[in-house]
Amino acid sequence: MRYRVTHITEYLYSARVSHCYNLAHMIPRSTLRQTCLNNEMTVSPLAAHRTTREDYFGNIAYHFEIQRPHNKLVIKAISDVETGPQHTSLNLDFGITCKQALEQLATVSKPEIHLAKEFLIESSMIRATDELRDFAAPSFDQDRPLLSAVMDLTRRIYREFTYSPQSTTIATPLEEVMRTRKGVCQDFAHLQIACLRAMGFPAKYVSGYLETLPPPGKEKLVGADASHAWISVFSPTEGWFEFDPTNDCLVSEQHIITAWGRDFFDVTPLKGVIFGGGKNPVLNVSVDVARRG
């Protein structure tokens, strides 16, 4: 599928910002199932200096520096992306079992297995606790195929937790998500990653966009789409597989990847240091995912 994604971020400051330095993760990376054909970044006011580079995780990091005073910052990212389905037929009832996967992770010395273990370790926003392990365990029967178990966990998160856009700020601690059983896509992704790591399976955080389809007979609204987040889990024999706990599904062509990392912190869409700016800036984000051809 071919898409044009338009992602507009706007900060309105309560006081003048004299200059600022920012780092954006807004340019979609190319992956096994996705190619970024074209991207255009527009920053207002005009950036004095900008660079694009591939970061540690292979994501595209966009740095810019603004040296003129401003009260409003607008970043517009327009990307054309070609997506495909995940790399196997994904019959979840085949493939190695949970037990086999754990054995292989413990004993097989292969570069990709060693490297995947980076995603098994505690990261700044995710700590695998006993509570999360207890929550996850029922899905992971020893002899159950790993992917089927992960799908089951995906479904349980979908069913037992309420999607509630108002319920959380930019990032909610997992204990709170567990307690309130509410959250947004980020929280569910963090929760599932923590569960997987607690069970001993490497998992990473994927940020991106999801194409939403209008109700039948209605016109699709521009800007109705949102940035989205889901997870990717590692099978020692088959590689990485993406699941979306917010929508209870395997990731499909409609999921467009921007970046991945250990958690949200590694792929924050926009961060940086501003000089001045006062308190409580107003943030507006709009995303539009449109099919092309």
Binding site: F57, E65, L270
Partner: protein, 857 residues
């Protein structure tokens, strides 16, 4: 400092001078004696020399050494406690001696180790083959906070990524040197080692000269050469030393290093990234920076990509590093090499990267991340030192045997919670070195920190190092923070050092500082400006207070009204309102408590103590520009300040004015030195602008307070003498006018007489000269700059005043005088604002775009 000086006292007067003899303790670990109890040949000469020197001379030399260290400002501040007094660096005069023969082996071992760590650094931030092939467990790298993913792929020019490598060595039970830790973040200690050497060569010149000691100077030249070679810009590269600031524990070394190598000492606020380059903010704008010798931990260097709450960083520094437009040594990310877990896997790492095992042994290491090791740690905690795998300000090593049963249990619980974050190392016996303790030479365990710098295809090792000894005979824990002593380390050559190697070579070999004085960081200049202002402010307050104490204790009774005028002036001059302004009669009658508060209460801004503290802070911040004489005077001020409370404890009854004298004298010495021995560069000019401005302001306030109110003649005379006395003009006045006190003649002397160096007009003329010489944009027009106009206005105001008008009275006060002084004060404040707006850096406070608390958890 207080501690060590009292220690000195006790050393000066030993009851029984003991002979300086070192006797075998029988320990097999003693460095001096061989297995048969015979003194090793290279120690023989040295110990004989000390014996021949005798206790008394030795003490003289020791005191001299401590004086030099103190005058040089050699301190090691206890981390995180701004109130702690400076700790003067503690040097034991008995050097550690290593024979050339043995050193040869150690040196090649250290070179090999530095090579290996360089390869390790390249691999960890490059292909990570060691992880891919299972040589290092992923957790050991990926789980360590010191592994900075943002630094992946960064490359310095040249074949070395690791520029500086320091190693702590200890003598193992088998007699070989063994590595305890590696320091790769921003290794400290080399500057202290050089300072130790400088002091040794000064206090024991003949012993040092005759001992054929390897010199250190060339090692520092190699550091400078290496830093220069890293510059992306080969034409006159600008190299800076980046320090966290004057409160850092090793700030002395940062300033010392910068001075010795002729580099600029900067703090992060002096640097800015703009248009893809790093710049230093200087008086005449931005100057490009090519190389940074970093003394700030890497995690704190860039709040955009690394730790975002860091106040010590330069935003976007990493993007400039990536583009190769600035080089940082050691490179950002190099702190990961200090991870002690790697020591466990070092033999395998070495085989993989070097093709052989290292010659130099490391201490054995048990890592909590390995289940078997974890069991060992828990079972043997008594005999282990437990270290965190990531070193930071809030983590430290603990020795199991020092803990109570309960503490041990708590530690084990903590380890079990996050086992991968701890290692255990066995306690080692250290080599024992003769050390001067309470009049005797006693064996003390020793640790040697060695230093290596990348140099033409390999590493060059400092011939010597920083030796530190434990406090007790058995004390294994040696760190600067537990108050241990240091020693110079002598590598004794078998043949004499070359003809160039005079005794002072290490001292005199320092290259000159860059001549571009205009490119001082604006922060330094600002600090000099404020140093001048605070010094003058304190001096003016002290003079006035001294006068007040004398008058209050004088024979002549003073009327209540007169006393009120004087005391209110004290409050205005020191800006310690409400104080005596409109206060009760009772307070005027017994002003003692408030007056003492104005002198000594450091928490009240405006008090003499708080002004002097502020002055000392500014001096610390611009330390690298101050001469050693100036530093000595600053030490005197610090001493006088700490003794102030004792001097004032007797209250008004015991001539408190005398307690203030040492401070006034020290401040006079400071201004004298600035006048006589500072080069007339912009630093000096700004300091003097600060002084002149402040002196004008204080004089204006004193005249206002004492002369504007109309008073009966008897009171008038007292007020005028108080004015002249506190403005240091009474003697000139009496010589000129005999005993008769007159308002016009007094005002003439303190306001208009330019032959009086304390008169207002003299200050204004000097100010005018200074502002005309400040750097300014090239402009062919002849219009005056705003600060020139403001000074000219102030100067003209006084010049055009008429004494008869100034002294004229109306409704109980001198209105014209009051008007003139108010206008003058406003002009002076304008000048100060104009100068500081134009030349100093006004940083807006920065904040994170997205606040995050996650990274710190």
């Amino acid at each position: 400092m207080i501690q060590s000086s009292s220690q000195t006292q006790s050393q000066i007067s030993p009851l029984l001078p003991k002979e300086l003899v070192y006797r075998p303790s029988g320990s097999p670990m003693d460095e001096v004696f061989d297995a048969n109890g015979n003194t090793k040949p290279h120690w023989e000469v040295l110990l004989n020399s000390f014996h021949a020197l005798g206790s008394t001379t030795f003490l003289d030399r020791l005191n001299k050494a401590q004086r030099i260290l103190r005058d040089d400002g050699a301190t090691y501040n206890i981390y995180g406690d701004p109130k702690a007094p400076d700790n003067t660096w503690d040097l034991d005069l008995i050097p550690s001696i290593i024979s050339s023969n043995e050193w040869g082996k150690i040196e090649s071992g250290l070179q090999e180790r530095a090579e290996l760590f360089n390869l390790l650094l390249k691999d960890l931030y490059g292909p990570r083959e060691l992880i891919r092939h299972g040589v290092i467990p992923p957790q050991a790298l990926f789980g360590n906070k010191g592994f900075l993913r943002a630094c992946h792929g960064i490359q310095l020019p040249g074949e070395h990524q690791l520029i500086l490598h320091a190693v702590d060595l200890i003598r193992g039970a088998d007699g070989n040197m063994c590595v305890l830790t590696d320091r790769t973040q921003s290794p400290s200690g080399a500057g202290y080692a050089l300072e130790n050497r400088t002091v040794m060569s000064r206090v024991l010149p003949s012993l040092y000269r005759n001992s054929q000691v390897h010199r250190l100077a060339s090692f520092f030249q190699q550091i400078r050469a290496k830093l220069t070679s890293l510059s992306p810009n080969q034409e006159d590269p600008r190299i800076v030393v980046l320090t966290p600031g004057a409160h850092n524990e090793t700030y002395f070394e940062h300033a010392y290093f910068a001075n010795y190598l002729g580099l600029h000492l900067v703090q992060s606020g002096d640097l800015i990234v703009r248009n893809g380059y790093v710049w230093m903010k200087t008086l005449d704008g931005l100057s490009r920076v090519d190389v940074i010798l970093r003394r700030v931990d890497d995690l704190f260097c860039d709040p955009v990509e690394l730790r975002s709450d860091s106040q010590l960083g330069v935003p976007n520094l990493l993007t400039v590093v990536r583009s190769g437009r600035v080089a940082i040594a050691n490179p950002l990310g190099s702190g990961i090499l200090e991870n002690p877990v790697f020591l466990k896997y070092l033999p395998q790492i070495s085989k993989k990267l070097l093709g052989r095992e290292l010659r130099l042994q490391s201490v054995s290491n048990y890592w909590g991340g390995d289940p078997e090791d974890l069991r060992y740690i828990v079972d043997n905690i008594e005999s282990l030192v437990i270290k965190p795998t990531f070193r930071s300000a809030d983590t430290s090593s603990v020795s199991g045997r020092r803990l109570t049963k309960q503490q041990k249990q708590e530690l084990i619980t903590r380890i079990k919670e996050r086992p991968e974050q701890f290692v255990g190392q066995p306690l080692l016996d250290a080599g024992q070195l003769p050390t001067y303790v309470d009049g005797q030479l006693l064996p003390r365990p020793a640790l040697l920190r060695s230093f290596a710098v990348a140099h033409s295809g390999s590493y060059s090792v400092m011939p010597g190092g920083l030796t530190r000894v434990g406090v007790k005979e058995t004390s294994f824990e040696i760190s600067n923070q537990s108050g241990s002593q240091s020693k110079d380390t002598w590598i004794i050559s078998s043949e004499p050092q070359g003809p160039h190697a005079g005794a002072d070579e290490d001292v005199a070999g320092a290259p000159g500082r860059d001549a571009d004085l205009i490119s001082l960081p604006s922060r330094v200049v600002e600090n000099l400006f404020w140093m001048g202002r605070y010094a003058e402010r304190a001096e003016a307050s002290l003079r006035l207070l001294r006068t007040v104490f004398m008058l209050l204790n004088g024979e002549e009774p003073i009327s209540l009204n007169c006393q009120r005028i004087i005391l209110e002036t004290v409050t205005s001059v020191t800006a310690t309102r409400p104080g005596f302004i409109n206060c009760s009669e009772a307070l005027i009658r017994s002003p003692e408590k408030e007056l003492l508060r104005v002198v000594g209460d450091g928490s009240s801004s405006g008090s003499v103590r708080s002004n002097l503290n502020a002055m000392l802070y500014c001096a610390d911040e611009s330390k690298e520009l101050l001469s050693s004489d100036t530093l000595r005077v600053i030490n005197d001020i610090r001493d006088a300040l700490s003794e102030l409370d004792i001097g004032l404890s007797g209250g008004l009854a015991s001539a408190p004015e005398e307690a203030l004298d040492p401070l006034v004298t020290a401040l006079m010495a400071l201004s004298g030195l600035a006048h006589e021995s500072m080069t007339r560069d912009f630093g000096w000019r700004f300091m003097d602008i600060g002084r002149r401005l402040e002196r004008s302001l204080q004089t204006t306030t004193i005249i206002h307070g004492l002369v504007v109110p109309e008073a009966p003649e008897a009171d008038q005379n007292i007020l005028l003498s108080a004015l002249l006395l506190s403005l240091e003009a009474l003697i000139s006045y009496r010589r000129r006018y005999r005993a008769r006190m007159g308002v016009q003649t007094s005002l003439d002397l303190v306001m208009m007489d330019t032959s009086n160096p304390r008169s207002l007009l003299h200050q204004l003329e000097q100010l005018n000269r200074h502002v005309r010489k400040l750097p300014r944009a090239q402009d062919i027009r002849h219009e005056l700059s705003p600060e020139e106009r403001a000074t000219l206005q102030a100067e003209t105001l006084i010049k055009l005043s008429l004494l008869t008008e100034l002294s004229a009275r109306e409704d109980g006060e001198r209105t014209q005088l009051k008007q003139t002084l108010v206008t003058l004060k406003a002009s002076l404040n304008t000048i100060s604002e104009l100068v500081s707006d134009k030349y100093f850096d006004h940083r807006e406070t920065s904040q994170q775009l997205v606040s995050s608390v996650w990274e710190n958890s």
